[in-house]
Subunit: 340 residues, 2 copies
Amino acid sequence: MSDYRAFYPGRRVMITGGLGFIGSNLARHLVGLGADVLLVDSLIPDYGGNLFNIHGIESRVRVNVADVRQATTMNCLVRDREVIFNLAGQVSHIDSMRDPGTDLDINCRSQLTLLEACRRHNPGAKVVYASTRQIYGRPERLPVDETHLVRPTDINGINKAAGEQYHLVYNNVFGVRACSLRLTNVYGPRQLIRHNRQGFIGWFIRLALEGGEIEIFGDGSQLRDFVHVDDAADAFLRAGATDAVNGEALNVGGLEPIAHKDLVTLLIEVAGGGSMRLVPWPPEKKKIDIGSFFSDSTRFTTATGWRPAVSLRDGLSTTLEFYRAHRDQYIGGDEAPPVS
Amino acid sequence: MSDYRAFYPGRRVMITGGLGFIGSNLARHLVGLGADVLLVDSLIPDYGGNLFNIHGIESRVRVNVADVRQATTMNCLVRDREVIFNLAGQVSHIDSMRDPGTDLDINCRSQLTLLEACRRHNPGAKVVYASTRQIYGRPERLPVDETHLVRPTDINGINKAAGEQYHLVYNNVFGVRACSLRLTNVYGPRQLIRHNRQGFIGWFIRLALEGGEIEIFGDGSQLRDFVHVDDAADAFLRAGATDAVNGEALNVGGLEPIAHKDLVTLLIEVAGGGSMRLVPWPPEKKKIDIGSFFSDSTRFTTATGWRPAVSLRDGLSTTLEFYRAHRDQYIGGDEAPPVS
């Protein structure tokens, strides 16, 4: 896999959710490699798509605003694409519990729509799906590898798991080559930090930026692993360029786990601001708490040579720099109040 | 659990898919126990609902024709029900591969609709969901217990798995008590045998009835376990009457596995007609073949005392008698041709 970058010059690729956090960072890598990049994004408010995310590469990508649930549109857009990075999704587990039907539409129906579009109109495409460590639920052992049961604790996790499995079935039955990457907590520039409903790491970064108080539930000993978005993008590039992982769902995790309280301590140190407070678990949060989690990415590393390269300290530092430089694009405007 | 039957006299129960195969047999048991039985069924042609299935108990049940996807209807119907046996579903894996969107609607959206109806309008209800061994996919060891990975090989299996997981999340997070029974191959009177898209056992029975040739793929050594519908109904009764299995998804399997060729030999003997032919695996079927499968129901037996009681020979014999007596209600009319 040393030459996976050589696969991309001139390659016709598509990124669904291409104006979102991971999608736009991946787009930057692909533009750098000389790929022909089509970004599809619905730009639904609150979901993470942001036109500023492609600031500086606007002239080197094609943007098509569309909803992935819309079948005739997707039938058209997939036709000439060789690799499809399928990152569109509803990622808020809080939203999924309030409105499970919309989560189902976006995380299940839209995946079927895309895969049917490939099956019927471009069966030669390769599809790489962005799954999540969230589908494992509360781990029964650590680190979590792919032999661990998938037992999501929320609607979003269930629907993401179904979305992943569709890809594997289309690979195995219909020959639409596909694989799935189970990403752990991804962080970095261009993440949505406008509200706190899309995972804690972006919100912690925002609070540190603003010198705010970061609340941690319990004693802060719960472990997590983190992947910088550049490492995540590299994982997608490798998966897109090889047939060695077709039909597989593989973990893409961080270098080493860190306790919440140590993460926040590091973040405050790197940011030069913010504070930490331990608060008791709210009962309704405790019900869906998964305890400690970190993943074992050995299978993906073995298959593709991928390894995370960005240390947490460096990653947090450049992320904070990015938001400081572009604060107005990510904070402010019509903000929803934080959800407690 | 010796007194689980005493739970039902006067109990207000609802069965979704109540005019279908398992639903209508369960209704007969509940009527016998003196329960207040509401049957909800969409009567979508080809799906298994059949008004003749409640022949003889029509006056002792209430039938409400409705589509479980229809939220306002479900909000109304669940209100006074104490136990909901949730059996409505699209059960054809063949149909799911042709039209995955409809399978998603019926096996995912409708489950969310029912569970949301309970969450918002009847959070005290107990829900028992009919899941399937199909969600396990191709087993990596036998017998399959609940620690085995869920890796469906088709769209129907994926959506049934999601439907099951919704129930567990609503139990764990929203307090709507729910559990799921992973049924193995169920057979018996009142199964749809009008076409061959709902599993092989009903179709084999029909062919034997008509003196036809029963084709088995490969050498016929693949193992399966079978549960008579009366045993399946007893499993639902036990699960509905106890809180010991809330939040659990448990196997409900057969007495002992039998090879396809031995099953068909037994069926031909009991039926006094029909013949068997071994044919090579069609390549597109081989791709989704799961090899041998049989399940371990120890957990459910331990929790509820349930054990299958009907032998395969006796079960096939009474099933054949039933269809001989009521042939016109289950065969004929506007039949679709068999799917190959």
